[in-house]
């Protein structure tokens, strides 16, 4: 009995050791985004609260917490409150399988990558339930857009993941990283790497694919009717999802916790440092893209997903497996 409660305590502590840093980095990411956008647009960005304005997002969270939570009278009350919770829960439970070093992971399961794929595809439910439960036109249109968009881009994400898995021969995330000890998959699979980042932008509803919350046409899309902390949960979940997709990119293509070159001064630095640096770089690309590109029109988005990414990734899967088979490089 004591051993069981001991294990339970360790497990809960481990979960907190992932969730708390993720939530703190969400706050810092929001700050970073505003600073980067400010720099790109020749402004200062937040600079009042705390040194260099670094406490700005904490102040925003406090403001959201103290506001009144409004429920639209014609909404479906249970689903209306449930949707933001679901979105945040889904963006946090995915961290259960993310390995930040070869030993430090909450659950090292055989099918880690499939678990991540499943959880990220459930993410659309939060959006679609929120849009329907609001019982209002703009949220509903946002929900429909998001459902079609996320299904379209999951297809190409699936094929990209399959290409990586063919090269690895395992569905375990730690195996995937360890097979990149000598060469990161971003080098031989460069086109897949680019497609994965673009699809990750679409999957997390980030610009230039943020049509579910397109403020130019849909007010705020699926969270038009949300206020105070229920809006805050959507906001948290969006940024937590960004960090999650960046970690997934790092695990699949950038060699996880391994240093760029396996030589003396670099390989004594702990792996978590490299992991965080790489995640940060991918996140910077997300913000950079947001500051640079205009929003896609919806038919252009669908065309890109179905007519360009899908055939391209499908052909690349065939080419990769044929190459590995012909040169006898298939794992196992």
């Amino acid at each position: 009995m004591t051993s069981l409660s001991f294990e339970l305590t360790i497990g809960i502590l481990k979960i907190f050791s992932f969730v708390v840093p993720v939530l703190v980095s969400v706050a810092l990411l929001v700050y970073l985004e505003r600073k980067v956008l400010g720099a790109v647009q020749l402004r200062k960005g937040p600079n009042v609260v705390g040194p260099f304005g670094i406490l700005q997002s904490f102040a925003d969270v406090l403001k959201l917490l103290t506001k009144e939570n409004l429920l639209p009278s014609s909404s479906n009350k249970f689903l209306f409150i449930f949707a933001p919770m679901l979105t945040l829960i889904l963006s946090l439970i995915a961290w259960a399988v993310i390995p930040i070093s070869s030993t430090y992971v909450i659950a090292n399961i055989n099918i880690g990558i499939l678990y991540l794929f499943a959880v990220s595809s459930f993410g659309v439910y939060g959006v679609i339930i929120a849009g329907w439960a609001s019982n209002s036109k703009y949220p509903f249109l946002g929900a429909l857009r998001s459902a079609a968009q996320m299904i379209s881009y999951e297809v190409s994400i699936g094929f990209v993941i399959i290409t990586v898995l063919i090269c690895v021969g395992s569905l375990n995330l730690i195996d995937i990283v360890e097979s990149q000890k000598n060469m990161w998959f971003a080098i031989p699979l460069l086109p897949m790497f680019v497609i994965f980042i673009i699809s990750a932008l679409a999957e997390t509803n980030r610009l230039p694919f943020d049509l579910p919350e397109d403020e130019a046409t849909l007010v705020a899309g699926f969270f038009t009717e949300y206020s105070s902390i229920s809006f805050g949960l959507f906001f948290l979940a969006e940024y937590a999802n960004m960090i999650l997709m960046s970690s997934l990119t790092v695990i699949l293509f950038l060699g996880g916790w391994y240093p760029p070159i396996d030589i003396f001064p670099l390989n004594v630095i702990p792996g978590i440092f490299w992991f965080v640096i790489k995640v940060f770089l991918i996140l910077f690309v997300f913000l950079w893209v947001r500051a640079t590109f205009p929003r896609y029109r919806y038919d252009q988005l669908m065309r890109l997903g179905w007519k360009i990414f899908l055939p391209f990734t499908l052909i690349w899967v065939v080419i990769t497996s044929a190459f590995l088979f012909y040169f006898g490089l298939l794992p196992n």
Binding site: I111, L114, A118, F122, I128, L144, A148, I151, R303
Partner: protein, 199 residues
Amino acid sequence: MFLVGSFFLFAAFLITTCIFVIFSKNPVNSVLFLVLAFLNSTFLFILIGAEFVGIILAIVYIGAVAILFLFVVMMLDIQITTLIFNIKRYIPLALLFAGIILAEIIYLTVFKTSKDNLDTFIRSKNNTEQIGDVLYTEYFIDFQLSGIVLLLAMIGAIVLTHVYRPTIKRQNIESQNLTTAEDRVKLVKIKSGEGIKDD
């Protein structure tokens, strides 16, 4: 003990959610309960150690099929009060399906007892590798045939719904991308007092 307990927990949830799928007045709630039912069956698959099948069930049915259901059902304009239809009409068909599934379960559990070498086969590797081993070798024909059936269904649906409307104006992306500034804009220097000469 823990396994048996969780089996009964998830099985009870599964049956309850299935009942709610049938008796919910609002079709959107029905689909959401269907999602819960899929999720519970995923848990049941994971409990018997078939984690690959379970997760694939979750990805395909919850992540894609149920979303499309939800997509369609949300757009239907259904008056909830008119939905109380005559359930009795569907009872014979439901009994037929239930009978077929019951017969399959009885056949598998009672008559097909020689599963010893299957058991040793299952224990030898993890189940993802087993599926990979047999899917394209022993079950190649069955796998390709089921793929062709799905392809036929897809083509059939497209043929039934696709109507060519010549009046719709479409954009030609290639010709749009090939245009340059010179095709669209012309800079003209105008002397004051003369105006633009049309040429």
